[in-house]
């Protein structure tokens, strides 16, 4: 039994890693008041960039860096549209997703080797393999935390760091103020536009990194729609986390866990039709959203940043 739990937890953490990066990224973006629905597109582009890079150069580090750069660049477009041009953020974010999805699919059929008809799918390359940590790997259950790839180890550092930065530093204070009440932040000398650009781009970079984990570690390689809608689950996880980075892990474990369990069940040849199992994470998303919303309506102090999705101009009435 312990072995089973350990193995499910191991997969859970690996499945949840990309969600953690992307969720924390989107939390930072939304905390600044910018709603970026381009997560799905940015994740796909991140995954594609990472795999294409590692396939051609063999450098894992370079592929992570480029995946983050591409995620950040797409977020920059969104920032320009929604902050400077004051476009509708929903529309702008959706177009980032549409563009990212289509463009990743297009590049996936162009950047591969000639031998494979220029397709990237089906190719293999270096990947982030699990790194065992001597002495800790063999612990019952907890050992699951110590047989992961480098990027998963990264979230152990990122989560507390992201929490500390947001709640304990002056930069985090300014960030929260910008998303809560930009008029006040502005009057207090915080540069609203600068911070919104900054955190939208940082958020995009983390989303790109989340995408990279998929194609470099969790399911190494490129397949069309490799994210399987994870970008949308991230949007729900941000709400589930109540915009608090430390809670991102709970959502990631929940959804990673459902994934892990349904894989296990499918592998063990259960009678439940696979369609239902595949549906499970998405059904869970809807249920969790409903529950969170109900809870929120009873507890008004917890909720989205007050200015989320609105543009700000100083002399606006």
């Amino acid at each position: 039994m312990t072995a089973l739990i350990t193995s499910i937890l191991t997969i859970t953490l690996s499945a949840g890693t990309s969600l953690v990066y992307a969720t924390i990224g989107e939390i930072y973006t939304e905390r600044s008041g910018i709603l970026n629905l381009g997560v799905e597109g940015m994740m796909l582009m991140g995954a594609l960039t990472a795999f294409a890079t590692v396939f051609h150069t063999g450098s894992l580090l370079l592929s992570v860096i480029l995946a983050m750069a591409v995620g950040g660049f797409l977020a920059l477009i969104h920032a320009f549209l929604s902050i400077t041009m004051r476009a509708n953020q929903v529309v702008s974010g959706l177009s980032i997703t549409l563009f990212g999805t289509g463009f990743a699919s297009f590049l996936g059929q162009r950047l591969g080797p000639e031998s494979n008809n220029f397709y990237l799918s089906g190719m293999t390359a270096q990947r982030y393999a699990a790194v065992q940590i001597e002495g800790l790997t063999d612990l019952p259950i907890l050992g699951a935390f110590f047989k992961q790839d480098v990027l998963t180890y990264g979230i152990y550092i990122l989560i507390p760091l992201a929490w500390f930065f947001m709640y304990k530093t002056k930069h985090g204070l300014n960030l929260r103020a910008v998303g809560e009440n930009p008029q006040t932040a502005d009057a207090m000398g915080v540069n609203v536009v600068k911070l919104r650009y900054l955190y939208t781009v940082i958020g995009g970079m983390l989303v790109g990194l989340g995408g990279a984990h998929l194609s470099l570690a969790y399911t190494p390689g490129w397949t069309e729609n490799i994210t399987g809608g994870r970008g949308w689950i991230v949007i729900a996880l941000v709400i589930f986390s109540m915009w608090n980075p430390s809670r991102a892990i709970l959502g990631a474990i929940l959804f990673g866990g459902i994934n892990a369990v349904q894989f296990r069940l499918q592998a063990s040849g259960t009678d439940i039709p696979s369609a239902y199992l595949n549906m499970a994470p998405y059904v869970a998303t809807i249920i969790v959203l409903v529950l969170v919303t109900v809870w929120e309506s009873h507890n008004r102090r917890i909720g989205p940043p007050n200015a989320l999705g609105t543009s700000y101009m100083r002399e606006d009435k």
Partner: protein, 521 residues
């Protein structure tokens, strides 16, 4: 006192334009150290925009600013702060979900990356003791009363080293006692060499608080006076540009049949707590019934159950004898009920729509505004023009978006629409809140005019003075119940005050007239 004092702040020829509106037209201003300057003017006279220019929130189109004799450019709030200018805005600049201390250090650069909250809180406590600005630095803003929030704002500006404190209508949200405290704080600050600019439209405050007064009218500077050398009547005349009535002309009421009847009405708030606990109320044609009470005792819900905006959980609401309990707002409007909502920006108008469209927002279904399902734009424009003239709405045109008008003119727009469509009952919630003398006078006169046209008026107000002058009788609400009713001619303010504090009328009378209060209390 000293004749050769140099001004700490000078503004010369400040002009600020907004689309279609000139908010400031070549305004000059001087402020001397250790003094309080009152900036007096009606709503829309340009007081706030002038101060927003000084605070770095608006960029002037023309004009120069000098601080301690040196020409300065104030491009952002940060620049203003660096020059020692701190502004307490009318809508507080506080982040509700953060603590007092967090709000105070928000945006500061010269603090450590991980702020030393212990040290910061200690410094806040010192300032707060020195100026008797009592507030808990660890409390969240949303937990604080409006008066406390204002203290946080002042504390914040002092903490950030403000030498020139701008206060935008600071007393609008304060009780008389809190205003008195504010006056003390200002005096202590000026005695230490700081200066303050005080925006207001209340004459008494100018007299109480300031050393100098500058009067703005329609964006222009009208006059500069030493406060000691002027009086409220003169200031009112300068501010409005004509003589002002401080009392309104009113004939005795001639009430007829009841037009609005509430029977044991009950209602709950969104958390399920009762907010109206069996209210009985009658408004007859040809009378104004005032509702007095401290805000938050169910007055807003009272107006909303009548207008169909809040569900009734028990009892009945009758309009003209017809059952209107929990009917839709539209059917209640059709039954002849007009509503001047308490939150005029959120519920009274659509800010992004034109004055004309806001004016026909209730009448658009009727001929000739709409003909065969199509709106007649020419008729709408004519109608709007007539209303603008009739109600003296000051707007560049009927096509101007409502959000660019001043509070008083927004209220006049709502008033025009509601009165035009009124068919028996007018429910007015805080209709003159935040309005200047001229607009208040217009609003009050209109209430009386409606009464004289045999409509029933329900007037909810926090301003006892207003209730006593406008209403014919006054009911007092406390915690969702009516404590008692008085006729406004022989009304006794202290008696009403006791009822507002929750003492039922009978006991209040005993307590006040004292015949047997020893046994009763």
């Amino acid at each position: 006192m000293e004749t050769e004092k140099k001004p700490i702040l000078e503004m010369r020829g400040i002009t600020k334009r907004f689309p279609g509106v000139v908010a400031n037209d070549g305004v000059d201003l001087e402020l001397f150290p250790g003094e309080v300057l009152a900036l007096l003017g009606e709503n829309g006279a340009g007081k706030s925009s002038l101060m927003n220019v000084l605070a770095g929130l608006y960029r002037p189109d023309e004009g120069e600013i000098y601080i301690r004799g040196e020409r300065v450019n104030i491009d952002s709030p940060r620049d203003a702060m660096a020059l020692g200018i701190g502004m307490v805005h009318q809508n507080f600049m506080l982040v509700e979900t953060m603590t007092v201390a967090e709000n105070i250090i928000l945006g500061l650069r010269d603090i450590k990356t991980v702020p030393d909250m212990g040290g910061i809180i200690k410094k806040i406590r010192q300032i707060s003791e020195h100026y008797k600005l009592k507030v808990d630095p660890k409390a969240y803003i949303w937990q604080l009363s409006v008066g406390e929030q204002q203290r946080v704002e002042i504390l914040k500006q002092i903490y950030r080293g403000a030498e020139i404190l701008i206060l935008d209508e600071p007393t609008a949200v304060l009780t008389p006692q809190e205003s008195e405290e504010l006056n003390h704080i200002l005096q202590q600050m000026t005695s230490e060499g700081k200066s303050a600019i005080f925006i207001t439209h209340k004459m008494e405050e100018v007299i109480d608080f300031s050393d100098w007064v500058r009067v703005l009218h329609q964006g222009k500077l009208v006059t500069v006076k030493k406060t000691a050398e002027t009086n409220p009547q003169e200031l009112a005349r300068l501010m409005v540009g004509r003589e002002v009535l401080f009392r309104i002309e009113k004939k005795p009421a001639q009430p007829k049949e009841p037009v609005l009847v509430l029977e044991q009405v009950q209602a709950n708030n969104e958390k399920g707590m009762p907010v109206l606990k069996g209210v009985d109320l009658q408004v007859r044609r040809g009378e104004i019934v005032g509702v007095a009470g401290v805000a938050g005792n169910g007055q807003t819900e009272l107006t909303e159950v009548i207008t169909g905006l809040h569900p009734v959980s028990g009892g009945r609401v009758l309009v003209d004898g017809k059952e209107m309990t929990n009917r839709s707002p539209l059917s209640i409007i059709k039954a002849g009920v007009s509503h001047i909502p308490s939150d005029r920006i959120a519920m009274g108008v659509v800010g992004d729509m034109s004055v004309a469209n806001n004016l026909v927002m209730k009448g658009y279904r009727k001929e000739p505004i709409t003909h065969s399902g199509l709106m007649n734009l020419r008729k709408i424009a004519e109608f709007a023009q007539r209303m603008v003239e009739l109600f003296r709405i000051s707007t560049p045109s009927t096509a101007t978006r409502v959000k660019f008008l001043s509070g008083g003119n927004i209220q006049k727009t709502i008033l025009a629409r509601e009165i035009d469509s009124c068919g028996g009952v007018l429910v007015a919630a805080y209709p003159s809140r935040g309005l200047d003398v001229g607009a208040t006078e217009a609003v009050r006169n209109e209430m009386v005019a409606q009464r004289d046209r045999d409509n029933g008026v329900l007037l909810v107000s926090e301003d006892l003075e207003e209730l006593l002058t406008v209403a014919d009788r006054i009911v007092v609400m406390f915690e969702g119940q009516i404590m008692g009713e008085v006729q406004s001619e022989d009304a006794n303010v202290e008696l009403i005050g006791l009822m507002m504090a929750g003492v039922p009328k009978e006991r209040a009378e005993k307590q006040y007239y004292g015949s047997d209060h020893a046994t009763d209390v």
